[in-house]
Each structure stands twice: as structure tokens, then as C-alpha cells.
Symmetry: C2
Subunit: 352 residues, 2 copies
């Protein structure tokens, strides 16, 4: 029996229980969710008796090897993660806000305590990308990370076009299907995308980068049905892209914005809540990882993959350096080709 605690028994937290149930191979088949930290109770749930609001009890229980944090938001999640690491417990998270704001400290504290801090599920939902970026580009220099990193906005843009509906209408549908949060601002304004880009670019460029360092973060609030239809007449879709690119050894550009993408691009076929990340190595060229970018079970599966990695001791430390001031260059307006739609609106063009 390998005991873990799950902090936050919402969409993803509950999914972890569902994902673990059918596992027949160790270490996941041996995992026991000994505690669930939540202020709510879950009467009738098979794990109802595991729910507690007393985090100190979890910290004090030496039999708990790992803590899985799926609460979302920076506080109190950050403090809980820090305390768990200091108590010698592995921490696995799907919470990109904490990774973005405190990843540097948490990775260091994990190393100091001989445990791990893993966050595959914080970017790209169920797509393996954090781990492959760390373990599969040894011989290469990653020069560029780009992609569609937010399932909610991609779902909205896909359905505005396919159904001929407005952003507000598509948002309503997305909400009803569970693809959008009650407060969708972080998604629509590009902040969620920016956080994920900061995590991926940080890994790619060996620095701790925060989304607040990204000079251009535009969302999809100003994308109209008319824009989408005019773009389509020109053979393009409008997609919310995140692009981070090296510019020599000491500089990088980073941009989050809606782009036009042509039909020849692989990204043209990234529909609905799917995500895709293109990692460009100087030797290997473009490598794309595609899959379910959001959703209860894909995210839970990614978390469980990290739980297995933690319990197997199958992780390494990847301590990066601080992002030096000036590493991220101000937006260079000439970096992307631009196209003007017949209604006068200008969009950047995604060329790959």
C-alpha cells in the first residue's frame, strides 16, 4: 500500500480516484488515497471517510508519501505544497498558477528534501510534454516552443466558426459542457495560455520565467464571428497561439495572441478542446505533441503518471537559473507577418 493525499476533490481531484481505480500495475495499483483535503463533504462517495479539513494531520502522517494538489489558485495551494515538500513528501500538481509563481522555490525545496515536485498536468492536460521536453532533447538545443495551449478558447473559436455563432454564444456552450470556468477571464484574456507558455519556455530555455515577463498577452475577446468568417474566406482559421523563440544565446521573444493559420499547417487540424505544442530543436527540427488539452480524465491521467514517477523514484532534478533582466526582449513588431482582413482588422500570421 502506498499512501497519498489529494488536496482539493473537485473536477481533477475526483478524476484521480476514477483514474486509479482500474490500474492493475504497480505502483499505481498499490496507491491508497488515505486523505482528501476539502472543506466540503462527499456523502455517499466511497472515499467519504477520507475527507478532512485538517492539513496538519496529513503532514504529520509519515505514511503519506505523496501529496497531489489539484486545488487551483495560488493560495493556499502554494503553502500546502511547500509544507508537504518540507515534510519530505513528493508533490504532484496540475496547478499552473503555483508552478508559475513559485515553481523555482518549490523545485529547490524538493531537491533539498530528496523528494520531487512534478507538474506534467499543468500544461497541455493529458499530453505528455513536460517530461518529453526534459528527457528527450538532451542532444539538442530547443530554439522555439509554440502552440495552442488553452482548450477553452480553442473550443470557442472552433464553434464560433462551425456553428456561425458569436463569442458570447460559444462561451455559453463551452460553459454548459464544462469546458469553461464560471469566470472565464483567465482563459479569454490569454492569461492561462501565458502561464503555460512561461512554464514550457522556462524548461526549454533553462530559466525560471513568469507569465508576467511576457510582453504581449492578447486574448480572444476582440475576435468576432466576422473576423473568423473573413479569415476562412482567405483559407485561414483564427487560433490563440503562444510563441516563445530564442534570439541568440541571451535573448528570447515571447508572444500570446490570436493568429491566422493556413490550411497547410498541422495546427489547422487542432479542433475543439485539443491542444498542440511544437517544440523545435536545432537538430531535430519541429516536433509536435498533440492531444486532449483539458478535461477531467486526461488531466487526472497526467497527474497519475507523475504519481507513478514519484513513487518509483523515476525523476531527476532540473534546477534552472533565474531569468536575467532583459532576457525576454520587448515585442518586435516585425517578427510576425501581419495580414489585414477586409474589415480592416489586423492579425499576426502563424507561418508553420
Amino acid at each position: 500500500m502506498r499512501n497519498i493525499a489529494v488536496l482539493g476533490f473537485g473536477v481533477v481531484g475526483g478524476g484521480i480516484y476514477e483514474a486509479l481505480k482500474p490500474c492493475i500495475n504497480p505502483p499505481l495499483s498499490e496507491v491508497n488515497i488515505k486523505y482528501i483535503l476539502d472543506l466540503r463533504s462527499f456523502p455517499g462517495h466511497p472515499l467519504a471517510d477520507r475527507v478532512t479539513s485538517d492539513y496538519d494531520r496529513i503532514l504529520a502522517d509519515g505514511s503519506v508519501e505523496a501529496v497531489v494538489e489539484t486545488m487551483g489558485g495560488v493560495d493556499p495551494a502554494y503553502g500546502f505544497c511547500l509544507a508537504a515538500l518540507k515534510a519530505g513528501k513528493h508533490v504532484i500538481t496540475s496547478n499552473k498558477a503555483v508552478v508559475d509563481a513559485h515553481g523555482e522555490e518549490l523545485e529547490r525545496v524538493a531537491m533539498e528534501n530528496g523528494v520531487c515536485y512534478l507538474y506534467e498536468a499543468s500544461v497541455g492536460g493529458g499530453i505528455p510534454v513536460v517530461e518529453p521536453m526534459r528527457s528527450c532533447f538532451y542532444a539538442d538545443t530547443v530554439t522555439r516552443v509554440a502552440g495552442i495551449l488553452n482548450g477553452t478558447t480553442n473550443y470557442i473559436l472552433t464553434h464560433m466558426r462551425s456553428e456561425g455563432i458569436t463569442l458570447a454564444e460559444a462561451l455559453d456552450v463551452a460553459r454548459r459542457l464544462g469546458y469553461a470556468e464560471r469566470d472565464p477571464k483567465a482563459d479569454l484574456a490569454g492569461l492561462d495560455t501565458a502561464r503555460k507558455l512561461a512554464i514550457l519556455a522556462g524548461i526549454a530555455f533553462g530559466r525560471y520565467i513568469s507569465y508576467t515577463d511576457i510582453p504581449v498577452i492578447e486574448g480572444i475577446e476582440d475576435v468576432t464571428l466576422e473576423d473568423i468568417q473573413l479569415a476562412e474566406q482567405a483559407g485561414c482559421l483564427i487560433k490563440l497561439f503562444a510563441v516563445a523563440e530564442r534570439s541568440g544565446p541571451d535573448h528570447a521573444h515571447m508572444t500570446v495572441a490570436p493568429f491566422l493559420v493556413g490550411w497547410h499547417s498541422l495546427f489547422h487540424a487542432v479542433h475543439d478542446a485539443q491542444n498542440a505544442v511544437c517544440v523545435t530543436g536545432s537538430i531535430v527540427g519541429d516536433t509536435v505533441f498533440y492531444g486532449s488539452g483539458a478535461g477531467r480524465m486526461p488531466t487526472a491521467a497526467a497527474v497519475c503518471g507523475d504519481v507513478a514517477r514519484a513513487l518509483n523514484g523515476d525523476y531527476k532534478y532540473h534546477i534552472r537559473k533565474k531569468c536575467e533582466p532583459g532576457f525576454i526582449l520587448p515585442e518586435d513588431e516585425s517578427r510576425f507577418r501581419k495580414a489585414v482582413l477586409p474589415n480592416g482588422k489586423t492579425y499576426r500570421v502563424y507561418e508553420k
Copy 2:
């Protein structure tokens, strides 16, 4: 200094030297190619003095930690790999023929000798897929592996369509550009694709599977320019697909054949010598890995990634079971929808 030997200094072997040169991070920055096993000599090459035709010298040198085999073909490569493992040296290979024919034995001997046998570069060139399949689907059951696994045939089919040329003409171009071997039969007949499918399906399904177990292996020899043009009029491309799919716990279907693929599919955008592999997990759904499926440097980069993994001790053993007779079902003609082109020719339809 970490000494390795490279067996076969051809396209990929030479690329490994080029890929290692700029590496600035350990362990690859510390790698020294102490020996090159080749019957040819390479006057003027910086490593000309490392070339030997005496394999026993390499085996007897206890300072050689890893042997990289890029010779191609089953013999003598297989014997060389086996001897290296027995001598306690890691073996890294890009040679899918040996992996297919002797992978079971070589993985077992590697484990018995406390070293590793790694073959990321044997499938999908520079695309990380073997390692992610092993380390990123812990919590999931892989139900299906499918994709475009052969760069040569994909290049030929892409150019038949874009240039309006015959298969023979496109093959000539592919040969001139180094995308096709002098004897392209293994590529054109689907055998190379089948070997790669057998490796991926074996990992996915936890069994050692040989391409000779695959009931349907059709290549692209009978695909005409007319077929491609008629398919295009129906909004489809013709692509050589490999598909392996679970059918309950004890059975799987495996097929290699040209398929029609519609414009909505991600695979529609897999052009030229690119490869793409879709791994379907029962929880995570479809995850696609895309990138350079062939070529000197992408393949060399994948080999170097495995070299780093071996020298860092960053590998695990994944011993599988034998493929029981009857596990792979005979072809079920109704498994794929079929479409008849106006010229009377029938193709399977790839639906994802």
C-alpha cells in the same frame, strides 16, 4: 571523458559525431568516440584514427561504456550488440531490423548484465515516441497505436500529388535527395512501416511482436497518380498507414496499408518525410507525436538522447511477455470502411 564506440560510420553514424560536437552539457559534452567500427577508412576525417575493423578490441576495452550500433541489417549487427551487452556495455541502436528480430533477447541480456538496450531512433526518427510511450502512459491503457511511420513513402506520395508525377518519378527525386535507399523495396512494400509498427505495438501491448505476425502488409507500389488525383477530388490524400488496435484483453488487429485520409484529419497535414504517431489511451484519448521521421541529424539526435539516458543511468527495464499465438487476429475485412474510387480501385478509409 565517457568513452563510446560507434558501429557503422555511415549516414547516421557520421551524424552522431556532428550532433555530439556542439553539446555543452554533460553527459554528452563529455562523450568521446573512442572507436569507430567500419571496414572503410575515412581519410581526412577528424576521427580517422579511431576507425578499426577489429571488434574484439572494442569489446576488450573496459573504458568503453556504450556501443552505438547504426549499421543496419540484422547481421552482423545483432551479434555485435549481443556481445557488447554481455561485455557489460550499454547498447543504443537505430536499427529496427535487429530490434524487431532480437529485441526480446537483447533486452533480457541487457537486464542480466545491468546495462541498457535503447532504441528510440528505430521508430519515428527524431520524434520522441518510444520513451514517452514507456514513461507517460503509466495510468492509462494504450488501446491503439497508428500513424505514418515511413518518411520515404510519405515523401513519394506527397510529391506525386504536388508535382503530378508518377511513383517511379517521385522515387527518383527521393533517391536524389537521400530520402530513399538504393534498394527501396522495404520502404515501398510497407516492410519498414511494419517493423516500426511491431515495435510500437509491442511496447503498447506489453508483448514482443514481430512484423512477420502482421496479417496485412500492403505497400504503395500499386498507388497510381490517377488514384491520388481521384482521391484529391474527393477531398482526400492517400497515405501509408500503420494501425494496431486492441480488441479485448487478449487480442489485437494490425494492418499496414495505404488509406484515404480526409482534410479534417491531423494526418492530412503530415507532409514530405514527416512522421506522426497517434497513441490512444483509454483515459487520455488520442495523443499525437509528430516530427522528422527520418534523416541523418534527427535520427542522430534521437540516438544521442539515448546515449545520455544510458550514461546517466536514467533508464528502466520494460521486459514484456511473449506474444501468444492468436493474440493478433486475422484481418477483419469489415474493420475499416472502404471507398471505391471512380477508376474502380478500393481503399481503406482512415477515420481519425
